[in-house]
């Protein structure tokens, strides 16, 4: 029997997805502008500011997001999906806009980092409530057999939010000098201000939407839950599903998602040392080319079931992460480049006093015969006594701009990793929505989602640093965390989850 979609489904999907995308955009720009924000609000050398900075990074993702899932999930299951995800959108938009208005540390002192911390925590709270609402809202408009396809549009928003955030930051940065961008009231604030316009449009659209028909019916029949938290986590029948969702699906999805979209970018910048703009161009191309596959895998999950698509994405990550990252490292390895005769593009020297001695930094930009450009920095100490002796202390190779062939090579590698993301993430909303009954759905699906993505995914860089500090000889050692979590999740999912096509019938 053919399943008929409700009228206006395109509008429902568009308005839900647009708001969620804006929330992701708001959340990402803070992270992407972290260096500038750190200079403006959390200056080095001030212990309190450093403490607030650490809290802003860790508390927003690890504590406040899951807490937001509980607060707004409960609200969504009691008063309704529409009102709740409208509230989260307004909170997110206002807090983002206000971050853009907070004067710097130089102007108002410690009040600046305190205000930014507070607003960042509010952002985390709002994000915790948004996703579950949008996914639930769209899923409850979708007929059985099409939930994967419809909700996959919501799944594109996290990546599109990243895409838009990268694009806007690059656009602003490209149209002004670094000094103008990084000054106290400089261009870095524009992406925060733009948010209020985006949110205004989205609120206008969302206000005109109706409540989810399934929830509205439940409410009319007075069958909504009076205590969704207790029903979700206090009753074994539901709580065991929350645990299964977290450990059998979302935990692995979270680390695959984070590794493909964020760790890859950070690795290219900090380990391979690619130049800022080229690194982001690679990410933009890879993300742009992979994004349609969220919808493809969402659609496919309606046909063959969600379980094996999600688990295959995890397994591919487990198998291929080390070869992919190793290839990234080797492709940008300067050892081969410095063996050739290279053209000098630019040279500069700086001298700084260090007691009676001097530190000389020589910066030379080279171009290899096959078109790769890199900057070599040599730091020497010129001793005053006994006579002038120069000793090279450190040579680093940075700002690498790779040639066209390597550029496409990197795009391909990142694209492959984002394809793994599309496999695990495309069907996950439908998967989660189908695990829980209507009256506690918002609460029950939001918490495992935000623990999986916010905590397990968000820990990727921290654990990578931890492992790198413990095992110095392996530059890829940080990957064992996402590989280990994805492998554990794969085993749990493979044995404890059943594929859903045997239950869904049209």
């Amino acid at each position: 029997m053919a399943v008929k979609a409700p009228s206006g489904i395109v509008k429902i999907i568009f308005s839900s997805s647009l708001g969620t995308m804006i929330e992701w955009y708001d959340f990402y720009i803070f992270g992407m502008l972290a260096k500038t924000i750190s200079v403006q609000f959390f200056p080095e050398g001030n212990g309190t500011a450093a403490l607030l900075s650490t809290l802003a990074i860790f508390a927003a993702g690890f504590i406040v997001r899951p807490f937001g899932a509980l607060v707004f999930g409960r609200m969504g299951d009691i008063i309704g999906r529409k009102a709740t995800f409208l509230i989260t959108l307004v909170i997110m938009g206002l807090s983002t806009f206000l971050i853009g208005l907070v004067p710097g540390y130089k102007t108002i002192g410690l009040a600046a980092p305190l205000l930014v911390l507070l607003l960042r925590l509010v952002q985390g709270l709002a994000l915790g409530g948004e996703y579950g609402g949008a996914a639930t809202y769209v899923a409850e408009h979708a007929p059985a057999g099409k939930r994967g396809f419809y909700t996959s549009w919501i799944q594109t928003t996290a990546t599109l939010g990243l895409f838009v955030a990268l694009g806007i930051i690059m656009f602003v940065k490209a149209n002004m000098s670094d000094a103008a961008f990084n000054s106290e009231w400089g261009g870095w604030r524009y992406p925060f201000w733009i948010s209020i316009l985006l949110v205004g449009v989205s609120v206008y659209i969302r206000q005109r939407m109706n409540e989810s028909p399934v929830f509205a019916k439940l409410k009319a029949e007075k069958k909504t839950s009076s205590n969704p938290l207790n029903e979700s986590f206090g009753k074994k029948q539901n709580f065991k599903m929350v645990l299964l969702a977290l450990f059998g699906a979302v935990m692995g999805q979270g680390v695959i998602w984070y590794t493909g979209q964020f760790y890859a970018q950070s690795f290219l910048e900090n380990t391979v040392h690619l130049e800022f703009i080229q690194n982001r161009e690679i990410m933009l191309w890879a993300i742009g080319l992979a994004t349609p596959f969220f919808v493809v895998f969402g659609w496919l999950s309606d046909k063959i079931g969600r379980k094996w698509i999600i688990l295959t994405g995890m397994l591919l990550g487990v198998i291929f992460y080390r070869p992919i990252f190793n290839s990234m490292l080797k492709a940008g390895d300067e050892k081969a480049w410095i063996m050739t005769t290279n053209e000098i593009v630019k040279e500069s020297f700086t001298m700084t006093a260090a007691g009676n001695d001097s530190i000389r930094t020589a910066s030379t930009t080279f171009r290899t015969p096959d078109g790769n450009v890199y900057t070599q920095k040599m730091v020497d100490t010129l001793y005053q006594s006994p006579g002038v002796i120069s000793q090279t202390q450190k040579i680093t190779y940075t700002n690498k701009i790779v040639n066209r062939k390597l550029f496409f090579h990197y795009i391909l590698l990142v694209w492959v990793m984002i394809m793994f993301v599309t496999m695990v993430y495309g069907p996950i909303a439908a998967f989660l929505v189908e695990m829980f009954p209507v009256k506690i759905r918002y609460t029950s699906m939001s918490l495992p989602y935000h623990i999986g993505n916010g905590v397990f995914g968000g820990l990727v860089p921290f654990i990578a640093t931890l492992l790198s500090a413990s095992f110095l000889s392996d530059p890829l050692v940080g990957l064992w965390y996402p590989i280990g979590i994805a492998a554990l999740c794969f085993v749990i999912g493979a044995f404890y989850l059943r594929n859903k096509t045997d239950i869904i019938s049209e």
Binding site: L51, T54, L55, I57, F58, A59, F62, I63, P66, A144, P213, V214, K217, L218, K223, K236, F239, K240, M241, L243, L244, A245, L246, F247, K307, E434, M435, F436, P437, V438, K439, I451, V455, L459, F462, T465, L466, A469, I492, F495, Y496, L497, R498, N499, K500, I503, I504, S505
Partner: protein, 87 residues
């Protein structure tokens, strides 16, 4: 298969306290007064261990449920739930 699922429950039960032990040990080993990285600061560790402890307890409960056969038959969620079938 159900027997295997139950036996694996013991593994999940054991894994949770091991993870917490390793986290606490890593925190003790890495927190240093002069360190500049996040792993050298106490605050991230306090946050991470605070949030991971209930997650690890959840993992133990998951192991216990596996062991007691809670996932033997209904390991998979229902796609069309009872309260939606008639809607």
């Amino acid at each position: 298969m159900n027997t295997f699922k139950r036996i694996m429950g013991l593994v999940w039960l054991a894994l949770a306290p091991i993870i917490i032990f390793l986290l606490v040990k890593a925190a003790i080993d890495n927190i240093t007064m002069g360190g500049s990285k996040d792993i050298n600061q106490p605050i991230p560790w306090i946050i991470i261990i605070s949030i991971f402890t209930p997650i690890a307890i959840g993992f133990m409960i998951f192991g216990y449920y596996c062991l007691s056969g809670e996932y033997d038959i209904e390991g998979c969620p229902g796609a069309l739930l009872p309260d939606e079938k008639n809607s």
